[in-house]
Amino acid sequence: MTLDDLMRAPAPASQWVLDRDCAENGLTPGMVKEAMRSRITEMRSSIERGLASSAPSITGMVGWNAKGLHDAPDVLNAPLLKRVQAYAMAVNEENARMGRIVAAPTAGSAGTIPGALLGVADHLGIPDEQLVMPMVLAAGVGKAISRQMFISGAAGGCQAEIGSSAAMAAAAVTELLGGTPRACVHAAAMALMNTIGLVCDPVGGYVEVPCVSRNAFFAVHAVSSAQLALSSLESFIPPDEVITAMAQVGRMMPLELRETAEGGLAQTPTGLAVTARMAEK
């Protein structure tokens, strides 16, 4: 399954993804949809817990970002923006305090899809039942990316991890809002191409800084991609070539920039202090 195949599939793109996956894995469409339904419920629950809590994470670097934003005045008068960011951070802060979340596709990038998809749905008053098939499409885009590149920061930098989640979220939001398969795939490609080069530099090696705020930023990024694609804008570079480019950059990336905490933000004086403090624990 490639993005090119997906782009030419009959609408809705998610149905095509579902049929192919079931043929491959021996599951029925009903089972996959039921699992996705329960995952949406889990995502909701992690958002609610995350928005209500300001308890610190394992290292104490995060834990109050989502609640802080949620409770703050909407200075830009942009409720969609605020909601998407707060949802995304709520999930990742729950993750950072060993709460229950849905990896999508990983735990470190778990906030992007709920932030973007559930954030947009709640903003527009769309019920959860209508999110099931867009969630299937998101998973299909993730599968297409993982065929050429792993989806973890250790394998290809954060571009592979949050880049994948942003691409998955962009396709899902586009289908939710009535986009064609072509628009969904281009939304994914635009989201992915604008994450290329992003390093994985978690402070102390923990999925907290910059991961929590990075999820907030890339959830918004995914919604922006959907908006461009729904206005018929497309990625000039064909979608599968974007994945190839991302994979190539990932292979060129030194080990220091792939989740080892040996580069980037992790090597700042503050980052090193956190590493030293956690080593003593």
Partner: protein
């Protein structure tokens, strides 16, 4: 790789590779032992050794040995639960050589049984089991996996394949390794359906068989797949 691996697993944070994947590695080791271990010696390699503590890797491995899934709310209390289950454990940092940075070696003992498992957590909660008792294997826990350790003689693989065929079980993947000609060998087969109970008992009764284990799926798509016993559907 299925859609349920991409949106999922539902898990206790914070890291799909360091926490959920580690838990699944523990689940596989438990199944290969065939029981809850009484003792576990766990070796952590590279990134698992370096940042495992804060990521709950130690807790998750023990949780898996206790049979918990990655979404089990008891995962953060796995050390206390191990005490209640009479499981003692040690952790050490090891160098497993040229393997994925998120890898672990689990040596587990219980009730006259012992097994050593080396496995990697490759991202998003996906695992890759690479050694069992020193034999090279390759399985992901995405399907029912039959492992047999036997005396290396002509025709054993054909006999096992024949038994699977007779039981209407389809082989999805197969690896085989031996320590020396005529020594011990291990056959690892990933299956579309589990072997039936009667066929399993029959297999264990063969004189050349030394050890037989059926590992149930630990990945979500495998767990949810319908078990099509005795049918080719």
């Amino acid at each position: 790789m299925s859609l349920l691996d991409m949106i999922g697993p539902v898990m206790i944070g914070p890291s799909s590779s360091h926490t959920a994947g580690a838990c699944r590695i523990g689940q596989v080791a438990r199944q290969l032992l065939g029981q809850t271990p009484a003792r576990a010696e766990i070796g952590l390699h590279a990134s698992f050794a370096k940042t495992g503590r804060g990521h709950g890797t130690h807790l998750a491995l023990i949780a898996g040995l206790l049979g918990y899934t990655p979404d089990d709310a008891r995962l953060p209390q796995a050390f206390d639960e191990a005490g209640a289950a009479d499981l003692t454990y040690t952790f050490e940092n090891v160098d497993l050589g040229d393997v994925h940075p998120n890898s672990a070696r689990l040596r587990v003992w219980g009730n006259g049984e012992q097994v050593e498992v080396i496995a990697s957590s490759t991202g998003g909660g996906v695992i890759d089991v690479i050694r069992v008792d020193g034999f090279k294997v390759s399985f992901s826990g995405g399907a029912f996996t039959l492992l047999t350790r036997y005396h290396d003689t002509v025709g054993v693989i054909a006999k096992v394949a024949g038994l699977l065929a007779a039981d209407q079980v389809n082989i999805a993947a197969l690896t085989c390794a031996r320590n020396q000609r005529g020594g011990d060998a291990m056959l690892c087969t990933e299956l579309d359906q589990p072997l039936g109970e009667a066929a399993h008992t029959f297999l264990r009764s063969w004189p050349e068989m030394k050890w037989v284990r059926m590992v149930r799926p630990v990945m979500d798509a495998g767990i949810q797949a319908p078990v099509l016993l005795g049918t080719t559907a």
